[in-house]
């Protein structure tokens, strides 16, 4: 028994690592740049120049805080052509451009020259000031100058973010056009010529073979995964110590947000699971006891139909019938309390009494799905047990039918449905998204739903990781309980 438990716990650890890896892989593949999103909410006011300087600083800080300046994993597999310092480049899009260019040419040194020259071109361009140019000459209007300068800046940005030959050529020709038409842009000339030269060198470089030779880079423990999981001992505590990062929506810690919402989801799933057990066990026993009677067949059919009813259909139907002024307006449509009446000072029971009408429809919807499922399992398990030898023995020695069923058969047929209980903790954290959305219950389900609509990846990934963890923990506990409760089960 002890050996089995230890073995089971030992297999638990690699599974946890696998889950964390899976969610990490999903999170780094999430589209968009988290720094941009977080910086947007923290953007300061000021002139365009100041703002870009300030926001750059904020972005660099955020990048550092989120650990995005680190390599992704302990090691990476790339090819001979790529640089192992590519991860230091800050902008996600620039990084992608460089990677693709290197992939096409196989020559990182040349690509790096090209990139540096482009950056210096951008720097020179930044120094251009339309007003100064306007004052130093008389022919052109301020608008024309502004437009030309902006256009060139736009094309330089394009060049930094694209790796497609056609688009690069297009940008080149546009900048060429502007440079030849406007003499005030002449300060860009030398740099731009260099850019074109380097691009040409990339095109003619014959190092493509280098992309076919694999290379493994080793980074050690200073990487994003390690930071996400274990923290860095300073500002980040790591997932294992309950630091799930911050939300992209409002920069609040994820753990705070979860603690605010988990209570309602947890109590809903607890209540509904208990109710489902209370209803399904008697039904299961009864139909197994009266197997093949009309009542059993009726129950079976009804349960089968309930089992096939999608919960979102049932929820919507309940709303349509019982929370609709056209039919019966017995219950409120959404929420868990009436904000105009609700008073946080109320006693516990008053709060419950106030919330009851809001919760009845969700609880029905929550319960019915698992109840149909549980009753079916219960019935099958009971039929299985009743045909066993020891039940025949019990009957043979003259025990009453009631005693045989309720005392001898019931306990053994309860085993299969123990497992289901393990599922309620993950259900609480993930919430039943569909049901909470239908009834607008402010729990975890709606939280997850909103974070998906708003691309709040840290939240999604956290919920995903924790519910995977809890499910596995549930299975572990259920397995061990099984072994404890049922001595017949031997684990070899």
């Amino acid at each position: 028994m002890l050996k089995y438990t230890i073995e089971r716990v030992l297999t638990f650890i690699p599974m946890l690592i696998a889950i964390s890896l899976l969610s990490f892989v999903i999170s780094i593949n999430a589209p968009g740049d988290p720094v941009e999103r977080l910086a947007k909410s923290a953007e300061s006011e000021g002139s365009a120049q100041e703002q870009s300087g300030a926001s750059k600083k904020i972005k660099a800080e955020l990048r550092k805080k989120l650990g995005l300046d680190l390599p992704i994993f302990y090691f990476s597999v790339s090819n001979l052509s790529t640089s192992d310092t590519l991860y230091r480049i800050q902008d996600k899009y620039h990084k992608a451009t460089l990677e693709h260019l290197t992939h096409k040419s196989g020559n990182w040194a040349k690509v790096s020259d090209y990139y540096k020259e482009l950056l210096s071109l951008q720097k020179v361009h930044m120094k251009l000031n339309s007003k100064d140019i306007f004052e130093s000459q008389t022919e052109l209007e301020l608008n024309t100058i502004n437009e030309a300068v902006n256009q060139v800046g736009f094309e330089i940005n394009n060049l930094l973010e694209t790796s497609e030959e056609e688009l690069i050529d297009l940008s080149f020709s546009k900048i060429d056009d502007k440079l030849s038409n406007f003499s005030f842009l002449s300060s860009l000339n030398s740099s731009f010529e260099n850019v074109k030269k380097y691009k040409n060198e990339i095109n003619i470089s014959e190092d493509k073979w280098r992309t076919y030779v694999p290379k493994i880079n080793w980074y050690g423990s200073k990487n994003q995964y390690h930071l996400w999981l274990f923290g860095n001992g300073k500002d980040r505590k790591g997932l294992l110590r309950g630091d799930f990062g911050i939300s992209y929506i409002d920069s609040q810690p994820i753990s705070t947000k979860i603690w605010q919402k988990i209570g309602i989801s947890f109590s809903l799933s607890l209540i509904s699971i208990l109710l489902a057990y209370l209803i399904s066990i008697p039904i299961g026993i009864y139909s197994a006891h009266k197997k093949d009677s009309a009542v059993d067949k009726g129950f079976s059919l009804v349960l089968f139909i309930l089992y096939s009813m999608p919960s979102f259909f049932v929820g919507t139907l309940l709303l349509l019938q019982f929370a609709n002024p056209d039919n019966l307006a017995w219950f409120p449509v959404s929420g868990i309390q009436d904000p105009t009446l609700f008073d946080p000072e109320w006693s516990f029971w008053t709060k419950i009494k106030h919330r009851m009408p809001f919760l009845i429809l969700p609880i029905i919807t929550y319960t019915y799905g698992s109840f149909a499922f549980l009753s079916r399992i219960m019935r099958v398990g009971m039929i299985d047990v009743v045909s066993q030898d020891y039940i025949r023995t019990a009957r043979a020695k003259g025990l009453g039918e009631k005693k045989v069923i309720l005392k001898h058969a019931l306990r053994n047929s309860l085993l299969p449905i123990i497992t289901v209980f393990a599922a309620i903790f993950p259900m609480a954290i993930g919430g039943s998204i569909i049901i909470e959305v239908i009834f607008s219950i402010p729990g975890m389900g709606v939280e997850v739903y909103n974070s998906i609509l708003n691309y709040d990846y840290p939240m999604i990934i956290t919920v995903f990781t924790i519910s995977g963890f809890l499910t596995m923990l549930g299975y572990l506990v259920a397995d061990i309980l099984y072994a404890v409760v049922d001595p017949r089960i031997s684990y070899k």
Partner: protein, 442 residues
């Protein structure tokens, strides 16, 4: 087959006879068949373009033609009269000599601007007739099941939704069965201590796997990305190429391993393939499936195909478990042992002898899987996650009903469609379980 005919007994026949005894299941099978017919014929059942039209002496079949088609109509003296652009022509205003409309004369995504704002099936419906006057809709052009907020016909949406639902079940479970049967068969047939190979071959296979992944997927990642951005077909071709590269690399390295003759490395070693597969199943089972699917759909593009693929690659565990269990049982039976002792290769033994006899219970799991795939897809479109907004599915229609409870027809009809389809699949699965495998009978 011939030996079975001689004894006049075939398992398939037996199972079919058993299945036929369940009258409800038989009805469900016919219903499923008619759903498939409905799905295949959907563009001809619900279409705003007429099936056949005789227009100014021209015989046209607009519903069967492609949407981008244009026809030039000439007058009798040979002068150009007008040009019919099939996608923008308002067919209802044309003056036909003779016309046959589709049974539901609306397309699922066209908006009838005279019947916006949730027109009920029994309520007053407006119609613009040939003379441009707005009148009560004639019964031929009534929206028989009502419309949604922007005037799309519910009946047309339901008919075309059938297509998507059946597709989801078919494609996703197709993917799931490929993965599940393959992995389950390997795990069940070989177990942990049957797949033996020289150590050197084992190592070289792993190296081959590495190189295969590197060249097939690492090096081709831009080709793959370009392929998928050009459309699902070209993406699939690129993907096939990548898989081909992967397989070739593994085969090549396995071949290379024969060239190395070092005694110490020739020792036979076991490949614990069952452990790998079982752990994989356990891992996938320990993640709440809906949450996994929602998480993945959150980071990838919104497309109905991607949703199908995701449902498929997260749904193979049940099939793999059944296949594995069945092959564990079968591999110790006489006919498999006979095949092995005749010196057949493992491949031939598994795929020609063992697997065909193991598929019956797997079929049940697939049927249940289709029901749950349809349920998941409609749940996702009900939430508006993963499936693009412009695709009309049963789930998205039901969602419109939830947002406006007065439009009861948007709740009842799509909901019933989902419910009936799922019930049909579940019924067929249950009945075939009873027929194929009496041991599992409940």
């Amino acid at each position: 087959m011939s030996t079975q005919n001689k004894e006049n007994f075939s398992f398939k026949k037996y199972a079919w006879n058993q299945f036929k005894k369940d009258k409800i299941a038989l009805v469900c099978l016919y219903l499923l068949f008619s759903l498939v017919v409905l799905a295949v014929l959907a563009p001809y059942i619900a279409n705003e373009r007429p099936l056949y039209a005789d227009y100014k002496g021209y015989k046209l079949y607009p519903a069967f033609a492609s949407e981008s088609r244009t026809d030039s109509i000439f007058k009798s003296d040979g002068k150009l009269d007008e040009i019919l652009q099939y996608d923008i022509t308002d067919w209802r205003t044309l003056d036909f000599n003779k016309v046959v409309w589709a049974p539901i004369p609306y397309s699922p995504s066209t908006m009838d601007r005279y019947n916006r704002d949730y027109v009920s099936p029994s309520g007053k419906q407006r119609f613009k007739n040939k003379n441009g006057e707005i009148t009560d809709a004639p019964s031929r052009f009534r929206h028989k099941l009502g419309t949604d907020g922007i005037g799309r016909d519910l009946a047309a949406g339901l008919i075309h939704g059938t297509r998507i639902s059946l597709m989801v079940g078919l494609v996703s479970m197709g993917i799931a069965s490929l993965i599940g049967i393959f992995l389950g068969a390997l795990a069940g047939f070989f177990g942990d201590n049957k797949l033996k190979m020289p150590r050197i071959k084992y190592y070289f296979t792993l190296i081959g796997l590495f190189f295969g992944l590197f060249y097939g997927f690492g090096h081709r990642k831009y080709a793959l990305a370009d392929g998928f951005s050009n459309g699902i077909m070209s993406g699939m071709i690129e993907l096939m190429l990548s898989i081909l590269v992967l397989v070739l690399a593994i085969v090549l390295f396995r071949f290379l391993s024969r060239l190395i003759k070092v005694d110490k490395l020739q020792e036979e070693t076991f490949v614990p393939i069952d452990t790998f597969v079982s752990r994989g199943i356990e891992l996938l089972n320990s993640i709440p499936r809906l949450l996994l699917i929602i998480t993945i759909t959150a980071v990838v593009e919104r497309s109905i195909w991607i949703v199908m693929i995701i449902i498929g690659i997260t749904g193979w565990t049940g099939i793999a478990r059944f296949t594995r269990a069945e092959l564990l049982r079968i591999r110790s039976l006489e006919f498999v042992q006979a095949a092995e002792s005749l010196g057949y290769s493992a491949k031939r033994t598994i795929f020609k002898h063992a697997l065909p006899n193991a598929l019956a219970p797997v079929f049940i799991s697939i049927a249940f899987g289709i029901a749950s795939a349809i349920l998941i897809e409609s749940g996702l479109s009900f939430l508006g996650i993963g499936v693009p907004d412009d695709i009309v599915t049963w789930g998205s229609l039901l969602n419109l009903g939830r947002q406006n409870l007065e439009a009861w027809w948007l709740i009842i009809y799509p909901g019933m469609a989902i419910f009936i389809t799922i019930t049909i699949y579940n019924m067929i699965a249950e009945a075939s379980r009873d027929a194929l495998d009496p041991r599992l009978k409940s």
